[in-house]
């Protein structure tokens, strides 16, 4: 078989993190090829290398058997590779035809843009795809599905032969998915190679001939889809040894601290209910985009919700007010440390005491180094490695920054701590420290909600797991019931 595109033993690292290690596979003409793996398995990095955004550290890409080296997206495009992203990036104020012709506009003899040729070309492409979109209308206001079709038309107009589709169906309705698949099948049968990334197995079995499975940046296998059951695929995606240590301590489960009832927000999450009790670690699991962070941000009040209620120690919490949540005894260690967790330019001590400065003030004034004493005590307890407390917090390493965020919220003496991806982007040693800390705190009676995309972390730390899928609670599992497979099944919408 002739390989249209080959990925040969590529490796890509970001800092100390190896995102992709020694991955090889080939895409053939007339083939739809699925790429699957957990969050963080390295799929996106592969896509970005194919798109010319990242360059492999080692290994090569080959088109038609010849090695290529993409200096940028333009090179990838010239080699005939087009990428359709989950959220297309059209120019909203240009017409559909202009978007398709972008960078490649037909010219009249006077070197003016030939609008008529441009529109006719777009019309021809849409006919070929069998869809009806007015080429003259502006791209603004097109549905996501239509925007993707415009992107596909754009790919066709540049004579792309490899179409990489990065979770194209995530935001589509059933009918739209069917239409996208019809178009994709037609292109495949015309001899294009399709790389299809999706978390939905029914789509993979419906569309693809072969599947490549990745795990932790490594290539697990490439096999015909027909030879694998969904079970096989999931096992291979998650199948890793649970050797990493999660120091789970036994805690006495106490009174109910948080009750979330029917929480909904239009288009983000719907009818989410769960409870958290003192001493309990509840994990919110699910795929990226399942609405986990959004739910917890609404609970804490930094975001709004449309309906439902949040009760804290039996009392209804004022919606949309982080201050009320804090006063009640809640803390949130957010997902995005740099943008939400810390004020990078401010000193370590100011960051630690930011939510608490009111309580530290005497007669409304902050004098005599109360902030420094407070910050020193908490950063020492968490064994934060730092120079001076007056240094900007941005000078610390990621792990120590995370400790500052934890110190900041622990200093408020919370009854419930929400931690969103508490160990993302921090080194293994600090990771274990954070796990130990959360465990100890729970054993002392703190209620913890942990949002995490790392299954071992979820399984190792949680007493209970609430699995979200597409904005609603797909399953609630006890520690005993939870396995990597059962959580993944629930997260991906497969019956277990």
């Amino acid at each position: 078989m002739d390989a249209l595109l080959e990925v040969r033993d590529v490796t890509k690292s970001f800092g100390a993190v190896a995102a992709v290690q020694g991955v090889s596979f080939a895409l053939h003409a007339g083939e739809a090829h699925a790429l699957v793996g957990e969050n963080g398995a390295g799929k996106s990095t592969i896509v970005k290398m194919l798109a010319g955004v990242h360059r492999p550290d080692t290994g090569t890409l080959a088109v038609d058997g010849a090695e290529v080296d993409f200096a940028g997206p333009a090179d990838a495009k010239a080699a005939g590779i087009a990428v359709i992203y989950q959220e297309p990036t059209l120019f909203p104020d240009l017409s559909v035809a202009e978007n398709i012709a972008m960078g490649n506009q037909p010219l009249t003899r006077l070197r003016q843009i030939d609008r008529r040729a441009m529109n006719a070309n777009a019309e021809r492409l849409f006919t070929r795809l069998g869809v009806r979109i007015d080429p003259a209308r502006p791209a603004r206001g097109l549905s996501i599905a239509d925007q993707q079709l415009v992107e596909i038309a754009k790919a066709l107009s540049s004579e792309a032969r490899v179409l990489v589709m990065d979770e194209p169906t995530a935001a589509l309705s059933g009918v739209e998915v069917d239409r996208l698949f019809a178009v994709t099948r037609a292109l495949r049968d015309e001899g294009a190679a399709i790389m299809f990334i999706s978390h939905r197995f029914e789509e993979i079995t419906a569309l693809c001939q072969r599947v490549t499975i990745m795990r932790d940046g490594r290539h697990v296998c490439t096999e015909p889809v027909a030879d694998l059951t969904v079970d096989d695929m999931i096992r291979r995606m998650v199948g890793r040894d649970l050797s990493a240590l999660y120091p789970k301590q036994e805690a006495t489960i106490g009174e109910t601290v948080l009750e979330v009832e029917g929480l909904s927000r239009e288009g983000v999450f719907r009818d989410v209910s769960f409870t958290v009790r003192a001493g309990e670690i509840v994990a919110l699991a699910g795929l990226v985009g399942a609405g986990r962070s959004e739910v917890m941000q609404a609970v804490f009040g930094v975001d709004r919700y449309d309906s439902g209620s949040v009760r804290f120690l039996g009392r209804k919490l004022k919606p949309g007010s982080p201050r009320a949540a804090m006063a009640a005894g809640m803390g949130l260690v957010p997902e995005d440390r740099r943008q939400q967790g810390l004020v990078m330019e401010l000193s370590i001590e100011r960051n630690v005491t930011l939510p608490r400065s009111r309580a530290l003030a005497k007669l409304g004034l902050l004098f005599g180094g109360v902030e420094r004493r407070e910050a020193a005590s908490w950063t020492q307890q968490l064994q934060t490695r730092l120079g001076r407390l007056s240094d900007p917090v941005g000078t610390l390493s990621g792990g120590n920054q995370q400790k500052v965020v934890l110190a900041k919220w622990l200093a408020t003496g919370p009854r419930l701590l929400i931690v969103d991806e508490p160990t993302r982007g921090i080194d293994v040693g600090t990771k274990a420290e954070v796990h130990r800390l959360l465990s100890t705190l729970a054993a002392r009676g703190l209620a913890v909600v942990m949002v995490s995309s790392e299954l071992p972390e979820v399984l190792g730390m949680a007493d209970r797991i609430v699995v979200l899928r597409e904005g609603h609670v797909a399953a609630q599992l006890t520690r005993a019931e939870a396995t990597e497979e059962s959580v993944m099944y629930a997260a991906m919408g497969q019956p277990s």
Binding site: V343, E345, R350, L354, L365
Partner: protein
Amino acid sequence: MSEVRRRLASWDSIIIALTVLVLVVASVGVPNFGTSRNFTFLVLDLMPIVLVALPMTFIIVTGEIDLSVASTLGLTSSLMGWFWNNGLSIETIIPLCVLVGAMLGAFNGFLVTGLGLPSLAVTIGTLALYRGLAFVVLGDGAVADFPWNYTGWVTGTIGGGAVPNVLILIVALALIFGVVLHATPFGRSLYAIGANAQAAHFSGIRVARTKFWLYVASGAIAGLVGVLWTLRYSSARADNGSGLELAVVAAVLLGGVSIFGGRGTLPGVLAGVVLLAALQNALRLQDVSGQALNIVTGALLVLSVLLPNVASSIRATWHRRRLRQAAAS
């Protein structure tokens, strides 16, 4: 390395040193600069700038701006004349003008925080709007017959000595604003808002509400300065204080407040105001022309923005070099 960095980073300490230097050199080298009479004039001249600069510092620290202050001043001055012509007592007029200023500020605050409009655009708009209204109220005329005991207090000195009465007001307000900015939870929250509004929000700080009240404060102080300005020149006019906003913003930036928010100190700003005023005063005593004064002011402002940037790019180069050395070894 870190010592140099620390020094470069605290621009406000440089500006304070520079201000002291200018004051000393001018006292020694410029005839009449050090006289008590000149001191009185110097204080009266910098009064409107320094007072308006206090809330302006707060606003710029949060990453916003208020360019409508001079027009607020003009409108309250016009209203003061109009109220006086309509027979209100001066004791009623003064608080009323401060209140009107606060309301004009609240309108700015509503547009910026309630509707989420950019403060630069909003306050350029109200700069024109409020000045226009000032002319509607009073036209081209002036009202001059304010009671002598009030106008005399503003221009007078304590016990007929060298210390102007208004200096008490300036010192009192500067102390209040300085303590609030540097030693209260509210002040801490302003820096957090300016440096990262999202993180501030996640820390339970009420970002919009805080900014709203800053605009109210800015308007109220501008209203108060409208009153003081009117009494000082004994003249309520619609064009009072034209262009003052630029002098204020210049002084605040010169004082080391970052236009992007999150950085700056009130002592730095006070030094910036004094530096600008003293320099202008000294040059004027030397018979330097008005245009030349503008050139000096403008150059100082550009330098104040340029130097911290140069300093930080030097820092970045050092940092890169250090990383390369670390990688090589």
